[in-house]
Amino acid sequence: MNRVIAISILTFRAAWRSRAVHSALALVCAAVFAFALTARGDGTLPGLAKLIIEYSFKAAFWILAMFALWAGCGAVSEDIRRRHIQLLAVKPLRCSELWLGRWLGISTIIAIAIAICGILVGVLATVAGNTYACPKSETDVLNDHVLTARWRILPDEHIPHHEVAQCLSSLKADGTISERALPEDAWLYALQKVKWSRATVLKGVSKEWTFAIPKSVRPRAPNDGAWLKIRLRSPTRDREPTSMEWTFTSLNGKPLHTLSVSLPPDGVHYVKIPTSVIKGGDTILVRLSQVDNSQNEPLMFDPYAPLEILVSRSGFGGNLARALLIVGCQLSLVAAVGVTAGTAFSMPVAVFVTVCGFLVSSGAVFFTSEKVVNYAKVHDPEKVSAYARSASWVLHKLSRLLDPLIRLDPVQLLVDGIHIPWSATIVTCVVILTTYTALCFVAGVYLLKKKEVALPE
């Protein structure tokens, strides 16, 4: 362990004294301040705070990702090129210790930079909340929905396999989907169709959602905040507000709460509900009855997240710390990939290979995500070449690579004021460290062992 520490101290010192780290840190701080000073938001204080948090964080993330990439790729490759490795490799140092030391050193710098960035963002968002003169309603929204951490309870939206299969076969029967379409594409398209049809509530029809409240959800006090978040999508613009009646009942039919609201049929709406409705371990049914019959158009919910129940849990600080921890782990993974690539290639090539790796994997996720239209929707699938079908197949396989990494988006959760549980934080960090990073470690050590580090140029 002492040797690993020695190498990490060496890496830390070398990086800390280089201009690149100073530039990266200065850029991170400048990006955070620049967004804080120039962000205009949607004209409201919560909007401004959200923007500051989201864009500052994202800018800092990308700058630090570039730094992690540069430092990671150069950690071993530059040692080999400048021959420093000849001093280290003759010492009683295992390849694993060298790799780990290098990675830990870079990760330490990343951790410091992330901490600085987190403190800045936290302070700026809080200062913005206290400085701007605005109506109390805006300050309340800021405190209730942005600078907070809330439990998010999603409805049970499980779509049975047979329902998708049925939809798929009817789409195939009417010729929308060809028999030649790639099975994954066809399935995604059918799934999308089912989701959209479920999200549409026709005039005069009621709809019910089931919420299983996790045991861990325990509102702290009766006057604590709890909200029903409703996401609506209107196919036509400028529709008049629709009156709705929302009924909360327990699983055995006992009425818990009823509220009547009139909401525009588009956008995101928060409706406050009493915390007495929320009991950890219970299952509640939320039923929508459209009262307003004057509207001819159906009511359309967001097919991906129609409803959420939000319950106040804790402050912004703890959530920020957990988000930072996950972001730190993600960046240290970038460094790990870089260190491994740097053992095989020279620094510029290692940077290129790493960037390509990330681009291809994240591109694959993007192109195969269910939000995009896919090949299955072709009217004349015979015109789709085997080349294009093969590309789609490869993308599907590649997208699975990054799936565990992107399942939790800490910055988005932070911006939305959603509580990031410690359990999820630890699981994500452990997955990153024990699978992706560990794989990089194994590959890096193998390559380092195989490499002759003193070959003439």
Binding site: S23, W70, P348, K377, A388
Partner: protein, 324 residues
């Protein structure tokens, strides 16, 4: 005369040095592959029309050019400063300004070759997406797309054979083959239509992309001038960071200049910040317009003035740099 000879000798050396950087070939090849894949991935996935392809091809051209220019500037000047090889050249009767300008010329020549590849790739990619319409469904000229994406692989294979047989360096040979093969790919595309039928000289290229490519090449050369001027004093990562910041600031030049409260400062900003909007003409193409020749000449004149100013400052900075 001696100065000219020295200048050309050093330019030739810089070109060879730049082409032997593996990244020159890798970045060019990657730009071509991604541009070639764009119609196949984007159009089928997002259902957009050719606009997306044009934007993507030009954006890849610009970004890869930015990376290549900063990398070459760092590799050819900052690295030479670090290794001390610069002292060996400057100890000869070579004026530092000639050395500095020759370095820039060499890098600019390589970047123009890169821009040629990226522009041709954009043309073929646009052609691959040309026949998109809802009537036909998501149909692309996959033969053109495949030909384009296969070009870097063919160049790499040819260079590997030459390397094996004649022991010529792989990266520079591959780059040379890339130039040849992409030109051939464009010619082959001009002989066949989308269905693979013989159609001699029916290019079906969107030639409007050509001036757009030339403008981007000028923008990349401007960035290279900034990068080489910075490399006289800074290391690679710092140069890249600065160039990237300049790129972003240049894109928001209008906003920054209008937001500057003092006239004098805004005037300085106008001179210092490059106006990338002059060189980024994708929007004009997407609206169905052409890039007038007068605009191209005006932009090139602007680029020449900007490059001259930057190189003068860079050359002065380089003269005052201690070589060892």
């Amino acid at each position: 005369m001696l100065l000219c000879r020295q200048f050309f000798a050093l330019t030739h050396l810089t070109i060879m040095e730049s082409l032997r950087q593996p990244l020159s070939f890798l970045l060019s090849a990657a730009a071509i592959v991604v541009t070639g894949l764009a119609p196949l991935l984007l159009m089928h996935s997002l259902g957009e029309d050719g606009k997306l392809i044009r934007d993507t091809a030009l954006a890849i051209h610009f970004m890869a050019g930015l990376l290549l220019s900063t990398h070459l500037a760092a590799a050819c000047l900052a690295e030479e400063r670090r290794r001390g090889t610069i002292a060996a050249v400057l100890s000869k009767p070579v004026p530092p300004a000639v050395f500095f300008l020759a370095k820039f010329s060499g890098i600019a020549a390589v970047l123009i070759c890169f821009s040629f590849c990226a522009t041709i790739a954009g043309l073929i990619s646009e052609r691959a997406a040309e026949h998109f319409s809802t009537e036909y469904g998501f149909v692309t000229d996959w033969r053109a797309g495949l030909l384009l994406t296969a070009t870097p692989a063919a160049a790499a294979i040819a260079a590997a054979i030459v390397n094996y047989m004649l022991k010529k360096p792989f990266p520079s040979t591959a780059f040379g083959f890339l130039l040849i093969f992409i030109t051939l790919a464009a010619l082959v595309c001009s002989l066949f239509d989308r269905t693979g039928q013989w159609s001699p000289f029916g290019f079906r290229f969107d030639w409007r992309l050509l001036p757009a490519g030339i403008l981007l090449a000028a923008a990349i050369v401007m960035l290279a001038a900034v990068a080489i001027a910075l490399s006289a004093r800074l290391d690679g990562p710092a140069t890249l960071a600065f160039c990237f910041a300049l790129l972003v600031a240049g894109l928001a030049a209008d906003y920054i200049i209008s937001a500057t409260p003092y006239h004098a400062i805004s005037l300085v900003m106008q001179c210092v910040l490059p106006d990338w909007q002059t060189f980024w003409q994708a929007d004009r193409l997407n609206r169905g317009g052409h890039i007038p020749l007068s605009h191209v000449w005006g932009a090139l004149l602007y680029a020449i003035c900007y490059v001259s100013a930057v190189l003068t400052v860079g050359s002065l900075a380089f003269e005052n740099t201690e070589a060892s």
